[in-house]
């Protein structure tokens, strides 16, 4: 067990060194959310009305969840690159604990995600977002964000051991995550959508997770009068969705890694 931790930390340190060398790797979880915050706050903010508060306070929960959803990208392209370049074969000839390579990636991505959450909170504060709940709820909000990010990282790990090239991973993430994060209450309240779209968005896990974050931070939720079940119980739904992703992604990632590296 201690060797697993030690080996994972060596691998995690490697990934963090990569980020130091190629800071662009962090753009999707740092600069991109700042850009979204500014664009939505200043460009769309004026035309999107939230019945229970200000749009900027509404927006930040959405941007946070969207950024963390894109946390799939980091591990997916890093692992796909490693597998393609054969560096994993070298690791497998070393007396390291099986699985440490993957847990190392997850640890490094989590560290990057925590930085991203801090940057997001700061940029939120700058545009006028505030936490209106008490400390336990605020902490619960951050814990929920981290748990969701953890699930997304494992989803990305599974993707990374499945796809053949890092480009494929990137393309797939964009193709799935852009519609998924937009067809939700991420940036616009559900009341503004057509009935069909509103139904889809209500059951989109991203909507439940943003609603949970908004609720825990005491931000406006822009909730319609009679929302769907997941939006009535957003915290439970958010935990449920994240747990479901983990239950599926972790075993598949481990199995996929064994398969890719079996000779």
């Amino acid at each position: 067990m201690t060797t697993l931790v030690a080996d994972s930390l060596v691998f995690a340190r490697r990934n963090i060194a990569h980020i130091r060398q190629v800071p662009e790797k962090l753009f999707d979880v740092t600069l991109q959310p700042i850009m979204f915050t500014l664009l939505f706050a200043y460009v769309f903010g004026g035309v999107i009305a939230i019945h229970d508060g200000s749009y900027r306070e509404y927006l930040i929960g959405g941007v946070m969840v969207q950024s963390l959803a894109f946390g799939i990208m980091g591990p997916a392209s890093a692992i796909a690159t490693d597998l393609r370049e054969g560096v994993v074969d070298r690791f497998r000839t070393l007396p390291t604990v099986t699985g440490a390579y993957l847990t190392g990636h997850v640890l490094a991505e989590l560290a990057a995600i925590l930085i991203a959450i801090a940057i997001l909170s700061l940029s939120g504060l700058i545009v006028g977002w505030r936490i209106h709940s008490d400390l336990p709820h605020a902490l619960a909000g951050y814990a929920l964000l981290t748990y969701f990010a953890f699930a997304m990282i494992w989803l990305g790990t599974w993707l990374g051991v499945t796809v053949r090239t890092p480009d494929a991973a990137q393309g797939l993430v964009f193709l799935v995550m852009f519609p998924m994060t937009f067809l939700a209450s991420t940036f616009v309240p559900l009341g503004g959508l057509s009935p069909t779209l509103a139904t889809i968005a209500s059951w989109n896990p991203i909507s439940a997770i943003t609603a949970a974050v908004r609720e825990l931070f005491g931000n406006p939720t822009g909730m319609p009068a009679d929302p769907a079940w997941p939006l009535q119980h957003p915290v439970i739904a958010a935990l449920g969705w994240s747990t479901l992703v983990l239950l599926i992604a972790v075993p598949l990632a481990l199995r996929g890694f064994r398969r890719r590296t079996a000779g």
Binding site: A17, Q21, E85, L94
Partner: protein
């Protein structure tokens, strides 16, 4: 047969294999490989691409599981005691498996840490190896900026980090310039002198000749010939004269005209309009040219060369292979 790995760990065999085979789908990449490499010796696996060299190495380094047979490295079974094997081997693959986004030094420190050296020991070992492999000047450079040869040297350094009992190198000098090749050979000799068992694959007979105590020639997954370099050369070696004719149709006439000089199996390469003749020692080039001239044959090129792996292969598998390749 049942072996006790711990008892075997005390004997003097570096690498052992019995009936080792690996099947991918319907294809046997390796069949019936028997090895007995004494500790502190050099064993060369020769063969073309796809001959099964890399497959054999993958099994011995625990990267692949054998379909048949068994193997042990430094006395540990590669299937049942993979972790023990990994703790006492060093591996450098065909592709330089170093991390481009780390510095040379960081790569070696990382590998040292993964061998569970202390941070200080890993750093000290990294610096020692960087100096030994003439990489000290570029220690803090990112590896992605390295030339192919520098990457290979760093890869080799990574395989030496834990002072392995058994070192496996897959085509270590492919793509290296002559100077780097010579210094790498020197380094490997020094390692072996210090007691390391070395198993290397190569496409170059010359390399195996310079380094190996024992050679196995693999062809389509099967050992086609085995022995010391001297034995193999005595069987298949000697000088060759390669004649490139103006017309492939003239090959049989050329072979007939030169029969007096032949010592071994003549190999024809119709697609290259070439015939390669193993000649008796002392044959002079001018005699060959005169004989061709006397037969009324014109040649585009006539030259003398040392025996190559190709020649050994073709000598082993006779003409069938040359015919098959031409088809």
């Amino acid at each position: 047969m049942v072996y006790d790995n711990d008892v075997r760990g005390t004997n003097k065999l570096g690498v052992e294999a019995e009936g080792l085979g690996k099947r991918y789908g319907d294809l046997w990449a390796l069949r019936d490989l028997d090895l007995a490499v004494p500790a502190g010796s050099v064993f060369g696996l020769l063969g073309h691409n796809g001959a099964g060299k890399t497959t054999a190495l993958k099994i011995l380094t625990t990267l692949a599981t054998p379909t048949t047979g068994r193997a042990s490295v430094a006395g540990h079974d590669v299937v049942t005691h993979g972790a023990r094997v990994r703790a006492c081997i060093g591996v450098a693959g065909q592709a330089a498996t170093v991390d481009g986004l780390l510095t040379a030094r960081a790569n070696l420190v990382m590998v040292g840490r993964l061998y569970h050296l202390s941070p200080a020991a890993a750093r000290a070992r990294a610096d020692e190896l960087l100096a030994q492999l003439e990489l000290a000047d570029v220690a803090t450079k990112l590896v992605k900026e390295f030339s192919g040869g520098m990457k290979r040297r760093l890869d080799l350094a990574a395989s030496l980090v834990a002072r392995p009992q058994v070192l496996f190198l897959d085509e270590p000098t492919t793509g290296l310039d002559p100077h780097s090749r010579n210094s790498l050979w020197d380094l490997l000799r020094a390692q072996v002198k210090a007691g390391t068992t070395l198993v290397l694959t190569t496409q170059y007979l010359e390399e195996a000749d310079r380094l190996a105590d024992h050679i196995a020639v693999l062809d389509h997954g099967v050992v086609a010939a085995q022995g010391s370099p001297a034995e193999l050369k005595a069987r298949f070696g000697g000088e060759r004269i390669a004649i490139t004719l103006m017309d492939a149709a003239a090959i049989p006439r050329a072979a007939a005209a030169l029969s007096a000089f032949v010592d071994g199996v003549v190999v024809e390469y119709p697609e290259a309009r070439q015939v390669v003749i193993p000649v008796r020692t002392g044959t002079r080039l001018v005699e060959v040219v005169r004989a061709l001239d006397a037969a009324g044959l014109d040649a585009h090129d006539v030259h003398r060369r040392e025996v190559t792996l190709d020649d050994v292969f073709l000598a082993i598998t006779r003409r069938e292979r040359a015919v098959k390749e031409a088809a």
